[in-house]
Assembly symmetry: C2
């Protein structure tokens, strides 16, 4: 045996994976955008091109949508930490009992805390007391109070031989706990990931918050080379990501890049490369800043795609583009009219209405997906865990947690073939028709009626947000039930915004039912409540929602006056 062969066998023996499949294993880029809505790009996920789709220049997202599939019914949680922890664990957020965003510091529930200040605010004026949720997030180990111990996705990928790289926002757990560090989650490399849930500044001129004046605990780390420069945060992170990819590409090791942008989260700041163009189109300052941030993410995607092509690895690299919750609709810094920024979807971040949870999702799997096909079977954040493991060829693994998600690899592979055939047969003359194509479970391995459950049993902020706080929802097929928990108290709300989804005029008192029912096929804006006319649908969906929440032992608020848990929805039937 010649020395080179001997060595090669030694090297292969050191690899933990079954050797036979190693050379086929794809690289995987999970490209995550923060607070980015369903209509915040040129990719029209809906039945038509909506006005917001015309607002942003995202040529690289279009480019990816032509290479991969367009998932028209992708969902996230209403807020960031629940989605992000579900991505790492494969558990539903309600099963994790992590259902609102996490604080900078441990033992600090954020609900009705007025931000990440670490002040625990129990909001004693509210009829509901805080639920007992896991405010210390997910953890890679046991023994941390108010947390869930999990086997994180990157650890499984790393153990299977992947180079696992984290760039950007982490936000799975607060400071002072192991879960705050990407290294504890199974990443071999971490750039800029910490306990912070948003950046103090996106601007190099601000040192990304690393200045005495600005510092607030969420300054972005590891970027000192760009301090004082005009490098926008998305660009800096992209450059860092590409640096970290050089080595695995050179050495032939498959990589998993978790490219987690802080954009388009607040603060809303201008990427100077793009801002003026949007002003020239007539946008106000906030709108133009936000648009520049959307395009900064698009430019990042483009830079990565260009780099993969230049290195000759684009044909062996999966790209998944997703966002962690809906676009912000109640932050004045974004400009425009509050509550409308995800139109035609109702509301935005924080809400169980579609504007808070319906997300962009593009998936390119070389050799498996057919470019430009549209798939409407709904998927949620917990589904990525088994999907990515299947993409990586990791077939047998054990986890501390019970994984709730289901792989959608077959859905997109077989589903895109199914859609392509229908298209070729002329059965999908319009985008709307393509959006309506039902891919049978017999083809996709996934029930098109599978329920998508959203659970936000919290007050998000100090100020009441009637269409956001204390809500749950379930979608199955075209039907969606909203459970407005606060309304069990017979409460009325003053309408503060201008969403066309509201029946009442601004300033007018609005009384809503405990349940609302919408048919999303006809009413994507959730503006025509059919609960009164479809009591059987309400009952069926309430049972579906209540049953699943009970099964997960989901956290629920407590009615202060009685000391009792808020009822499961089907207890109200």
């Amino acid at each position: 045996m010649r020395p080179a062969t001997k060595l090669a066998l030694t090297a292969a023996a050191a690899l933990p994976l079954a050797a036979g499949c190693r050379e086929q294993r794809p690289n995987i880029i999970f490209f995550l955008i923060d607070d980015n809505g369903w209509t915040d790009s040129q990719v029209a996920y809906g039945d038509e091109v909506y006005p917001y789709n015309l607002r942003y220049d995202t040529p690289n997202m279009l480019r990816l949508s032509q290479k991969g599939v367009i998932m028209t019914s992708a969902y996230a949680c209403p807020l960031s930490t629940p989605t992000r922890t579900a991505l790492m664990s494969g558990m539903h957020a309600a099963h994790e009992r992590i259902t609102t965003y996490g604080a900078l510091t441990k033992d600090t529930p954020t609900d009705a805390a007025g931000g990440t200040t670490g002040i625990i605010n129990d909001n004693p004026d509210d009829p509901f007391a805080r639920s007992d949720w896991n405010w210390n997030g997910i953890q890679p180990c046991e023994g941390i109070d108010h947390s869930v111990a999990v086997t994180p996705l990157p650890a499984l990928l790393r153990d299977a031989g992947y180079q696992t790289i984290h760039v950007g926002k982490a936000h799975w757990a607060p400071g002072g706990t192991p879960g705050a560090s990407p290294y504890n989650m199974g990443f071999n490399v971490n750039v800029a990931g910490s306990n912070a849930g948003y950046p103090r500044s996106h601007l190099g001129e601000d040192n990304y918050g690393n200045t005495k004046e600005l510092w607030q605990g969420n300054a972005v780390m590891n970027l000192s080379e760009y301090y004082g420069s005009p490098t926008f945060l998305s660009d800096a992170l992209t450059r860092e990501a590409i640096k970290t990819l050089e080595d695995p590409v050179r050495t032939g090791r498959p990589f998993f890049l978790y490219m987690s942008h802080y954009a388009t989260h607040t603060p809303i700041q201008p990427d100077a490369r793009f801002y003026q163009k949007y002003r020239d189109r007539g946008m106000d300052d906030g709108q133009a800043k936000y648009a520049s941030m959307c395009e900064s993410c698009d430019a990042s995607l483009g830079a990565l795609m260009d780099w993969l092509e230049a290195k000759g690895v684009a044909d062996n690299t999966v790209i998944i583009l997703y966002a962690d919750n809906g676009g912000h609709s109640i932050d004045a810094r974004k400009g425009g009219v509050p509550h409308t920024q995800n139109a035609p979807l109702r509301e935005g971040k924080g809400s169980c209405y579609e504007g808070g949870i319906r997300e962009p999702l593009l998936v390119y799997v070389p050799g498996k997906t057919i470019g430009g096909m549209r798939i409407n079977t709904p998927v949620g954040p917990e589904d990525f865990f088994p999907t990515i493991l299947e993409m990586a060829g990791v077939e047998s693994y054990s986890t501390k947690q019970k994984v709730d998600g289901q792989s959608f690899l077959k859905l997109i592979a077989e589903g895109s073939k199914f859609a392509s055939s229908a298209l070729k047969r002329g059965e999908l003359p319009t985008q709307k028709d393509a959006n309506r194509l039902v891919i049978p479970a017999s083809i996709s391995g996934m029930d098109p009626m599978r329920p998508i459950i959203s659970h936000m049993p919290h007050q998000w902020r100090i100020e009441d947000q009637p269409d956001i706080d204390f809500m749950s929802s379930v979608r199955s097929g075209d039907w969606k039930l909203i459970y407005r928990m606060h309304n069990i108290m017979g409460m009325e709300f003053i309408r503060t915004g201008a969403s066309k989804a509201y029946a009442a005029a601004p300033g007018e008192a609005v009384s809503c039912g405990v349940f609302e029912l919408y048919n999303l096929a006809d009413d994507i804006s959730e503006s025509h409540d059919l609960a009164a006319s479809e009591p059987d649908k309400v009952a069926a969906l309430a049972k579906m929602l209540g049953g699943r929440l009970r099964e997960w032992d989901a956290n629920m608020p407590v009615v202060r006056s009685t000391g009792r848990r808020v009822p499961w929805p089907d207890e109200l039937l």
Copy 2:
């Protein structure tokens, strides 16, 4: 050909190194301590055990000194950045024209700037104006003003297949430049390395400086999981380092770990695991804090050594322990009497006297070094570059810079055999005898008389430091020449400290000559100036020093009154 074999050959082909030698390549841990003096451990590098060697409990440094060689004449630069950049480039600091510490922000010379505040202070009262040095440090690329473009050591190791890992302090270049980022220097992984030259706090309770009250631009990054905990910085960095080593050990990839502690730099703070013990021994608060920091580094070394043993890779892992400049001798926070903290060595950090430049150095090379042997051939920071590449089996490489250093791998391998033989023959009855053993160049490949040049043509701080500012020195064999540049102006200094190296009493005016000459074999404290009685030695050494500085085009101050460069030392003969 069976699939496994096919794969293995594919994997081997992807490796950039000649395959035949891969399995022999050792792991390398470069363990760097900050501001740590020659006598700051139980390892007695000198002819005898000095009082300071009895002060600190460093069992793991002793343990390493019994596995590897004890380099009794290792030198660093008087300050941090010059040593650290020389380590990365293999250039002499005077050749790099990087001869004092770097600032947090670019284009900010620090000399006489009173710290890292970014205020450029030209100290107009001084007879000398600032020299034109490279205050923007080393850079991995051309085009940065006042910097040196280099091919950094880690880049060569990475390109040879090593997993290159940076943990701790970087400090090669200021913020706003590429050199600030370990990723640009060839590291695949970076934990906590940035533009910062010292930590805002070593305490987990202070979030390592990541609090609104403390924040000053040098908060330590990437450690949010320890915020609010009692984890001392050295311990946190060690834990992170071990995490980053798991993957290369598992996959069989050789690693280079640059374990660069922020300790024992100021701020002087207590590691609670060790502090009280030293108080109980009668030390003052500052002394006990400093002692606890020394022991925190020792504990880190021990944890790494234990881990290597537990993983079964200790016998294939080089360990190099070194420090970047002498112990601080003018910082009241260290307690004790100023100017004495490196006794018997004169002065400390910043100075060209031995206290500023003579350093701990232990080197364990499995299969090559004989444990406990003492080697007195001097080495400097630029020598590590070729030494580490030779250890890694990187035989042919090209660099942007001209490397000044010389590999000392043969010196320690053959030298330790030579010393061991002499010991066995009974020729080295005492530690002093072992320290005097000259290893001939014919054995070691290295001239025992090779000159060690130190160059500190700056005012370190706003306040004059007579035994520190504006000095150069050269050592060859036992002889050492000091060039006190300020003294060409016929200046007198008031003695401020209590170093026994001074002839005069505290508060008394001291007039020193331009040259001082010491015989280190007889006078390790540099207290008996022989310049007047040995003019030929002075001339020979001044020519050696001047010649080398000219060859490197070293930076020199300018005499304000004449506008002319301060003379090279041999111009004054």
